[in-house]
Every structure is written in structure tokens, then in C-alpha cells.
């Protein structure tokens, strides 16, 4: 176990390992996404209250779940990079931020589109949507801070500090937005909660959540590999790999 973690910190080893991993995981992800989408779009029955518009749940909820998890991945990588100064942790954090931001944006856009047939407007200051909006700001803050520094080592450490503070803050933000929403909104507008969801709708949703997690890992690895090729362009192991190809 420990040797595996140590190997992860070594760029040449990680580069080869991630290459094999991506070659397997990318097709698996595509298949999972296809099966999940077809299941959710065509096979699952419609919701008795919302009709067919609920089918957006199969991308909205997975995107939101993975976007939130992505912030924790980023903050964890930030902590590792601050404490042990491991270059690979910097690269992970750098790669996770834009991926997480895109997933958050997808959750927001699909939520807005879902809102139109459900509530009659494109945008509702619903607790979940508002929390996602703030999460998007948190992600954009990290991306913008990284771009603003010219020294990229310092940029990674600054982003690590910011994302750690953000991570501590996220539960507080979610809870406070929840309270804020329940105080201001009449109880008549409410989502049909996932807890009451029928298994014929739940299984494709779970499948899609797994697929989005795989997608997150794949894009994270692809971004990290592209970053590694450039930052280690002058080192021997990469030259040899390039020469052999």
C-alpha cells in the first residue's frame, strides 16, 4: 500500500501507470455513460408528477455530486502539496479545478433547464441551485488565482491554502443556504426528494453517478498527463518515452 502511494508521487511511474489506466477507463466510461443515458432517457418510466422532464435528473444529479466531490479531491491534493511539497499533488490540484468548474456549470445549466417545465421559470433561487452557484464561484476563484501568479509553484501553494479554507467553509455554506431557503420559501414548492424515488428510476441514476465519477477520473488523468509531458520535457525518462514511440 505504502509503496503504491510512494510510486504515485514519482512522475515517470505515474505517467506509465496512468497511460494504461486511461486506455481501459476511457472506453468503460463511454459505455457506462451510453448505457446510463439510454436507460434513463428511454427505458425508465416517467415521473407521475413531473412527466418526462425529470429525465434531466440523470445528468443533473451526477454532475452536482461529482462536482462537490471534485472540490474535496482538489483540497485534499492541496493539503498534500502544502505538507509534503509533492509535485504530483500540485499537478492534481491544477487539473481538478477546471474539471470541477465545468461539472458545476453543467449542474447549474441542467438545473435551470429543468426548472422551466417544473417551476415555469428558468432560474429559481432554490437552495440546491444557489449552493451550486457558490461552488462555481469557489472553483473559479481557484482557477483565477492560479492564473494570476506567474510563479507556478507559488500559485499551487496559494491555491492549496484557498481550497483548504473553501473546503472547511463548504459544509457551512450548504447548511446556511439550506436554512436561508427554508425560511424564505413557501413549503408548496418542493422537489420530489430522491429518498422517495422508485428503484426503476434509481438504478440508472446510480449508474450515471458511477459513470460521472469515472469521467472525472479520466479527465483528471488526461489533464495531468498533458501537464506532465510539458513540465518534464527536458528530463531523460520522457525523452526516452518520446524516442521509443
Amino acid at each position: 500500500m505504502w509503496t503504491f502511494i510512494h510510486k504515485l508521487g514519482s512522475p515517470p511511474w505515474f505517467f506509465r501507470f496512468s497511460g494504461t489506466l486511461v486506455r481501459w477507463l476511457l472506453p468503460i466510461t463511454v459505455i457506462l455513460l451510453l448505457v446510463g443515458s439510454i436507460w434513463g432517457l428511454l427505458v425508465a418510466p416517467p415521473d407521475f408528477r413531473q412527466g418526462n422532464s425529470y429525465r434531466i435528473i440523470y445528468i443533473h444529479v451526477p454532475a452536482a455530486v461529482v462536482a462537490l466531490a471534485g472540490y474535496y479531491v482538489m483540497a485534499f491534493a492541496g493539503a498534500v502539496s502544502l505538507i509534503w511539497r509533492i509535485k504530483m499533488a500540485d499537478v492534481t490540484m491544477r487539473a481538478a479545478a477546471p474539471v470541477g468548474a465545468v461539472l458545476t456549470a453543467i449542474a447549474l445549466v441542467t438545473g435551470a433547464i429543468w426548472g422551466k417545465p417544473t417551476w415555469g421559470t428558468w432560474w429559481v433561487w432554490d437552495a440546491r441551485i444557489t449552493s451550486m452557484l457558490i461552488l462555481l464561484f469557489l472553483y473559479l476563484g481557484v482557477v483565477a488565482l492560479f492564473e494570476a501568479y506567474e510563479n507556478k509553484t507559488a500559485a499551487a501553494r496559494a491555491c492549496a491554502v484557498l481550497s483548504l479554507v473553501g473546503m472547511v467553509n463548504i459544509p457551512i455554506i450548504y447548511k446556511s443556504v439550506d436554512w436561508w431557503y427554508s425560511l424564505h420559501q413557501p413549503a408548496s414548492i418542493k422537489f420530489t426528494g430522491e429518498s422517495a424515488i422508485d428503484s426503476s428510476m434509481l438504478y440508472p441514476l446510480l449508474l450515471m453517478i458511477v459513470a460521472f465519477y469515472c469521467l472525472f477520473v479520466v479527465t483528471l488523468l488526461l489533464n495531468m498527463r498533458a501537464e506532465l509531458v510539458w513540465s518534464y520535457r527536458e528530463s531523460g525518462w520522457l525523452r526516452q518515452l518520446v524516442g521509443d514511440s
Binding site: 512522475p11 515517470p12 476511457l26 443515458s37 432517457l41 428511454l42 427505458v43 425508465a44 418510466p45 416517467p46 412527466g51 418526462n52 422532464s53 429525465r55 434531466i56 445528468i59 443533473h60 454532475a63 474539471v99 465545468v102 456549470a105 453543467i106 445549466v109 441542467t110 433547464i113 429543468w114 422551466k116 417545465p117 469521467l215 479520466v218 479527465t219 488526461l222 489533464n223 498527463r225 498533458a226 509531458v229 510539458w230 518534464y232 520535457r233 527536458e234 528530463s235 531523460g236 525518462w237 520522457l238 525523452r239 518520446v242 524516442g243 514511440s245
Partner: protein
């Protein structure tokens, strides 16, 4: 299979526009998100290959290499 025909899939009892719009706006950024790092990687890789060919041909001195 819930739907009877392809037209019903497209229409989705009036919600088709929203559902397909949401899926389109998800698939497009996801495809771009996977494609961009692949493209960047390929560009870097080609650039490095070209550099090695130039070095082998003797038209350029190799950059200082440090083994990591």
C-alpha cells in the same frame, strides 16, 4: 422500453425540448473537456518528437537534460 416510437422519444409529451437541450448542453462540454487535454498532449508529444529528430540530424544542440 417506455416509448412507442421515435417521434414519441423526440417529443417526450411536450418536455422533449428541455430534456434534449439539457443533454446536448451536457455532452458538448464533456466532449470538449476530454478532447482538449488529448489535443494538448498530442501537440506536446509531436513537438518533442520533432525536436529529437532535429537533434539527431545534428541541426540543433540538445537542451540541457536533467534526469528525474
Amino acid at each position: 422500453m417506455y416509448f412507442e416510437s421515435l417521434a414519441a422519444v423526440w417529443h417526450m409529451d411536450g418536455h422533449g425540448f428541455y430534456v434534449w437541450l439539457a443533454y446536448t448542453l451536457t455532452v458538448l462540454p464533456l466532449v470538449i473537456m476530454v478532447w482538449l487535454p488529448l489535443k494538448r498532449m498530442r501537440q506536446h508529444w509531436r513537438w518533442l518528437q520533432a525536436e529529437q529528430r532535429r537533434v539527431a540530424a545534428g541541426t540543433e544542440t540538445p537542451a540541457m537534460g536533467s534526469d528525474v
